[in-house]
């Protein structure tokens, strides 16, 4: 299997405070990976470093390419549409994506919009939190990228929207693409994860296949994750 992401000795400081220290992480093609950790542990920072939105030291190679500017064409990130004013219609935003991303697939987008029941004539400012997240997911998955980065796609979202989003992830993730989903609440996504990466103490504290955790320790992903904070499970 080939690697979609290879991070080497990545360090990131903000205001002289170390957020991530000397991180190594390799992700294979075709996986769904849970990026877990407490709020403020550095999950979002790690994702931002991969997209190039934050600048650290060390090397990050996406699809074997370590030039930050090139990552952008391989990576599809759940950007929160901050560049648009609240009076912007969803149609307009989709047109923006279509123009700017060569890998934006209009047909996939239409399918996603139908599946997630999004009314595209609405304005950005009129959307509920759940609806906005659905729009963001539709735009993110409509691109044919190699690496999808979903930053806390379920925070503050009702359970129906959550189920829809999880289904659309399973349905539309290309087989040869890898998807990273960050969350601090594990149980809802545990069944769809191939692997979990846990960010703790400024580093990648653990990186394991989820079924290996279940087999090795006989506990669930959530229990395992919590045990790391209590120091309950001995692990190498």
């Amino acid at each position: 299997m080939t690697n979609v992401l290879a991070i080497n000795q990545l360090t990131y400081k903000h205001n002289l405070k170390t957020i991530l220290n000397n991180i190594d992480l390799t992700l294979e093609t075709g996986k769904i990976v849970g990026l877990l950790g407490e709020n403020g542990a550095g999950k979002t920072t790690l994702i931002r470093l991969i997209t190039g939105s934050a600048k650290g030291s060390g090397t990050i190679a996406v699809c074997g390419d370590s030039v930050a500017a090139h990552h952008k064409s391989h990576v599809s990130f759940t950007e929160q549409l901050r560049g648009f004013s609240s009076s912007t219609r969803i149609d307009w935003i989709a047109e923006f994506y279509r123009t700017v991303y060569p890998d934006f697939d209009g047909k996939r987008y239409e399918e996603l919009i139908t599946f997630l029941q999004i009314d595209t004539s609405l304005k950005l400012g009129a959307l509920s939190k759940g609806m906005k997240e659905k729009v963001v997911i539709a735009l993110t998955l409509a691109r044919q990228a190699h690496l999808y980065l979903l930053d806390e796609p379920f925070s503050g979202i009702d359970s129906m929207s959550r189920k829809k989003i999880i289904s659309s992830i399973i349905k539309w993730k290309p087989a040869d693409a890898t998807m990273v989903i960050s969350d601090h609440y594990v149980s809802e996504i545990a069944p769809i994860l191939d692997e979990v990466v846990i960010v703790k103490d400024q580093t990648i504290y653990a990186h394991k296949p989820s079924d290996a955790i279940r087999e090795e320790f006989g506990i669930g992903i959530e229990a395992y994750y919590e045990s790391l904070y209590e120091g309950g499970v001995n692990h190498d």
């Binding site: 090139h70 700017v100 060569p102």
Partner: protein
């Protein structure tokens, strides 16, 4: 990779909307002013052009500010920074888009002037004749008047460009230092920067005032060369700032987190 044209297109579409709103507001205000003058019975000859000229200034200023804001948004929003283009392309598309949209606002102003001058032509002739008589020494030929107007336009364009690049430079320096300085030194840097900016604004304003005061003497060959040199100087400063801005974007400037 996304083409320069695509980036330019999405940026301009958004700015076209904003600037058109500004123009709409301007026209509405002009119409209301004219109606008001008519109702109160103060609609004198030349009022159409006069009111348009008066309201044209704040409209140009508003467009300038809105476009500056749009410019700066691009640097710190993932919506734009994640577009698969290099920083140089992103920066140039951004600046060019604002320039073109400002040009659009400017051309609309000229059209407004032209229309209102045509309406007011009789009254204005008298006023212009009076103005000409009022000016003492130089009697401008038409060619010379055109030269002055062209020179001033060029100067305005250069100044607007430099204002935008300066605003960006300050913004990007603040944004860069924010990432690696602790809070206390950050505030110090910000204060120093604001002082520099205020100083620059005062200097430019003073320069402008002196220029307009010496309009009369602009026709002598020596001052023309000097005027041209000033424009080149401004453009050189803008170019240096552009290079610095792109460097900052590449190296340090991060976007606002989600």
């Amino acid at each position: 990779m996304t083409s320069f044209g695509a980036v330019f297109k999405v940026m301009s579409k958004d700015r076209f909307r904003t600037t058109t709103k500004v123009i709409g507001a301007e026209v509405a205000v002009i119409v209301v002013s004219i109606l008001w003058s008519w109702v109160t019975g103060n609609l004198t000859g030349g009022a159409f052009f006069g009111l348009t000229a008066v309201w044209s200034m704040p409209a140009m200023l508003a467009a300038f500010i809105f476009l500056a804001v749009a410019n700066e948004h691009v640097y710190t929003r993932d919506t734009y920074r994640l577009i698969p283009v290099g920083e140089t392309k992103l920066y140039s598309a951004n600046l060019l888009s604002s320039c073109v949209m400002y040009l659009y606002v400017g051309v609309v102003q000229l059209v407004l002037y032209f229309v209102t001058i045509t309406i007011d032509s009789d009254a204005l002739k008298g006023i212009l004749a009076g103005m000409k008589a009022g000016m003492e020494s130089p009697n401008f030929s038409n060619a010379e008047a055109a030269k002055i107007v062209f020179g001033l336009l060029l100067m305005s364009c250069a100044l607007i460009l430099m204002s935008w690049t300066t605003i960006s430079l300050v913004h990007l320096v603040v944004s860069s230092t924010n990432n690696f300085l602790p809070n206390v030194s950050r505030r110090a840097v910000n204060v120093v920067l604001y002082v520099i900016v205020i100083y620059l604004v005062v200097r430019v304003a003073a320069f402008l005032i002196s220029k307009f005061n010496s309009l009369d003497s602009m026709m002598s060959a020596g001052t023309q060369v000097q005027f041209g040199m000033n424009i080149v100087g401004i453009l050189v400063i803008a170019a240096i700032e552009i290079v610095a801005n792109i460097f900052l974007l590449k190296k340090w400037v991060e976007t606002i987190p989600n």
